[in-house]
């Protein structure tokens, strides 16, 4: 159902696992753009690290033929999102315009049902009130709420940027151009491993990358129809 084209956009992210160096630039960029608080050492130890986007590292093989694979994981903006229907107050719902999965902090009562039902575990719960030692709060992005304790939050594809971009385009009375809107993570990524765009715009970069033979979706078997596509890491072999 997620695929039927409407007059809206189908915002899509491509993650090239072959290029991701795990350098955490996207993670920090996300913290900076979305006012995500930093969790203390103890919180991390208790398994409560707050990152809207995390880079999962998986080991393969044994020394000396060991490999480390990086997998950036953030909200997959599922077409059929498991987190949406379970919310009793519609805090998590599907935007018919951006075709992404949206979390309305103000509605959230914190049942954390969505968090359980997210197979990607990308939904973050505010266990404490967010803390920004003065004057660090001067940096906070005015386009983004600071979430109150007891609220679920997650990656929004930097919807504040999507909105700004679209309003700007409306003001100038032109259609959105590809690459005009870039989320903080993709913007920062040095190797260009993250590509963002509107899949329904045929000549956008993502539209051209999606058909790649390296393409796969995370946990595809669950049928959640993510809006995030991954490109498998390749390998060049040496010698015979």
């Amino acid at each position: 159902m997620a695929e039927e084209q409407s007059n809206g956009h189908k915002w899509t992210m491509i993650v090239d696992a072959d290029k991701c160096t795990g350098c955490q630039a996207c993670v920090v960029a996300c913290h900076a753009e979305n006012n995500v608080p930093v969790s203390s050492e103890d919180e991390v130890i208790r398994g409560r690290a707050m990152h809207w986007m995390r880079i999962e590292r998986y080991w393969e093989g044994e020394y000396p033929n060991v490999k480390a694979r990086f997998l950036p994981v953030f909200c997959q903006q599922c077409g059929n999102a498991p987190c949406e229907p379970v919310c009793p107050v519609y805090a998590s719902y599907h935007s018919t315009e951006e075709n992404i999965n949206i979390q309305v902090y103000n509605r959230c009562v914190g049942t954390r049902y969505c968090g359980n039902n997210c197979p990607y575990r990308v939904r973050i719960f505010n266990f404490w009130a967010p803390r920004f030692d003065a004057p660090l709060e001067q940096q906070l992005n005015p386009d983004v709420t600071v979430r109150s304790p007891g609220v679920m939050e997650k990656c929004t594809f930097c919807i504040q940027r999507i909105r700004r971009g679209r309003e700007q385009a409306n003001i100038e009375g032109r259609p959105l151009e590809d690459g005009e809107i870039i989320p903080a993570c993709a913007q920062a990524c040095p190797t260009d491993a993250l590509v963002f765009g509107d899949k329904w715009d045929e000549n956008s970069r993502v539209a051209q990358m999606v058909p790649s033979e390296r393409q796969f979706k995370l946990l595809e078997n669950l049928g959640t129809e993510p809006a995030v596509y991954y490109l498998k890491g390749g390998e060049t072999h040496v010698g015979e």
Binding site: Y90, V109, P119, R121, F125, F127, L222
Partner: protein, 485 residues
């Protein structure tokens, strides 16, 4: 023994037969069965009401203890609200913990009450009569405590009213597609239903209390008994409405625990996403519920000295019931387990591996409490009728079933699709305090309640006794049952 004589004079002074061999049989029957051991109503009324008013030092000490624990619970809850859920042990993968397990558990023990009195009433089982109300009371307060937990559990309690289907300036309505909303509906229905059911059956006894009490209690009871006089019409309608309510409330009861289980099984979480959860949880609930009823029976009988009303026969019957439920529960648990085990899907296996691995102590303790002990003992009548034994078994089953709930909720959650995010869960002090405190709260409510209403449905006992008589068949005396209604 002459049928004619049985109806001359009140049913409670049936004379003994002349033949003393038969007489001994009759007397034996009276010792055995409450229904045959008819006493003058005045006496039973006095017995019940006297216990209702008695409050010894032991009572007050118990009350104080429970009260203290309850206070601790509310304080812990307040702290949690102020400082945020961070003080609990929950983490980014295990977002549901004991609070949800408690919800399931308390609804569970609340389950048997209404079931026993409603189902057995429809099936005209007489052993229900003296224990029906004790059971229903558990339902009432069990549900009340359970209903606390969704509230304790949420992150922004001050916004909880968003979940209520009331019109509001935000133009928002709750999402009827959410299992939580179904659950809310089911619990409300069940709570209201069982309250009505209990109240209806309570009216004649309240009237009785009104007739024998003075002062404020008399005022209270005359208000509550709605002016009951016991006319044929009133009695008849009472019978009918009780049957109607029993009829509706049984499916509702099933729906309640199914709804609770669906909170879990609607999620695509390995260890949860299983169609068997509905019936499985219902059975589990009945299991722990019946055990809870037995515990309450024992406590009530001991503390209120109701040896006359609650006899071996009742414990025996409940014991058998419990045994049947044990087997059913084992069947369901096994079905669920073998399905996951045989299917051999990595994640389901991971969940089971965790249960038999790091969580093995809890897991095997659970099996011991829920399977080994009941199966090993309940087949013997001596055990079933011995109060201490039943007390122990009942408590063990409570423990076992509670562990089972926690394992299902938090255990499963700590395993998920991306192994990068597996996090184990350990409870912190708030969970512990709140859980114990709620148990105490339940006990507190129950204690106070027994001092305000007759915990024995006396009129049902009369009714049974009026129905039961004994007649001679050949050389033996058999108990007979005549519908007076």
């Amino acid at each position: 023994m002459l049928e004619s004589r049985a109806t001359i004079g009140p049913y409670w002074d049936e004379p003994l037969p002349d033949d003393e061999h038969l007489a001994r049989q009759v007397e034996h029957g009276r010792e055995e069965h409450l229904m045959l051991d008819a006493r003058p109503p005045a006496e039973l009324n006095q017995l019940t009401l006297a216990r209702m008013r008695q409050t010894g030092p032991r009572f007050w000490i118990a009350l104080a203890g429970l009260g203290a624990l309850t206070l601790a619970f509310f304080i812990a809850w307040a702290i949690q609200i102020v400082s945020g859920l961070g003080i609990t042990g929950l983490n980014r993968s295990v977002m549901w913990g004991p609070y949800i397990a408690n919800l399931i558990y308390f609804i569970g023990i609340g389950h048997a009450g209404t079931f026993i009195s409603a189902a057995l009433r429809l099936m005209r089982m007489d052993f229900r009569r003296p224990i029906a109300r004790a059971a229903e009371t558990i339902t009432l307060f069990g549900l009340a405590c359970a209903a606390l937990f969704p509230i304790i559990h949420v992150g922004r309690i001050w916004k909880l009213f968003y979940m209520l289907p009331i019109p509001n300036q935000r133009d928002l309505w709750p999402n009827f597609r959410s299992a939580l909303f179904w659950d809310m509906m089911a619990i409300t229905t069940y709570l209201i239903g069982s309250t009505l059911f209990m109240y209806v059956a309570l009216i004649p006894d309240l009237a009785m209390a009104r007739d024998h009490m003075t002062g404020w209690r008399r005022k209270l009871y005359s208000a509550l008994s709605l002016g009951w006089r016991g006319t044929e019409g009133e009695w008849h309608r009472l019978e009918v409405v009780s049957n109607l309510l029993s009829f509706v409330i049984i499916p509702v009861m099933f729906s309640v625990h199914t709804g609770v289980s669906w909170n879990l099984s609607m999620a695509i979480q390995p260890g949860w996403h299983s169609a068997i959860f509905g019936p499985f949880f219902v059975v589990g609930a009945l299991y722990s519920g019946v055990a809870a009823v037995i515990l309450v029976m024992i406590i009530v009988r001991k503390t209120m000295r109701f040896g006359y009303f609650m006899r071996e026969e009742h414990f025996n019957a409940m014991g058998i019931f419990l045994l049947i439920l044990t087997l059913t529960w084992i069947y369901f648990y096994f079905a669920e387990w073998i399905t996951n085990w045989y299917g051999n899907l990595p994640l389901e296996k991971a969940v089971q591996a965790m249960l038999t691995g790091p969580l093995a102590p809890l897991f095997y303790l659970m099996l011991f409490c829920n399977i080994v002990v009941p199966l090993g003992t309940l087949w013997s009548r001596r055990v079933r009728t011995s109060l201490p034994a039943m007390l122990v078994i009942g408590i063990l089953i409570q423990v076992g079933m509670y562990i089972e709930r926690v394992l299902i909720v938090s255990g499963s959650l700590s395993r998920n699709e991306l192994p990068f995010n597996w996090v184990n869960y350990t409870p912190h002090w708030p969970e512990v305090t709140v859980t114990l405190g709620t148990l105490a709260f339940l006990g507190l409510l129950y204690m106070v309640y027994t001092r305000f209403v007759p915990i024995i449905p006396v009129w049902e006992v009369y009714e049974g006794q009026a129905m039961q008589g004994s007649r001679r068949v050949g050389r033996a005396v058999m108990s007979t049952r005549t519908e007076v209604h």
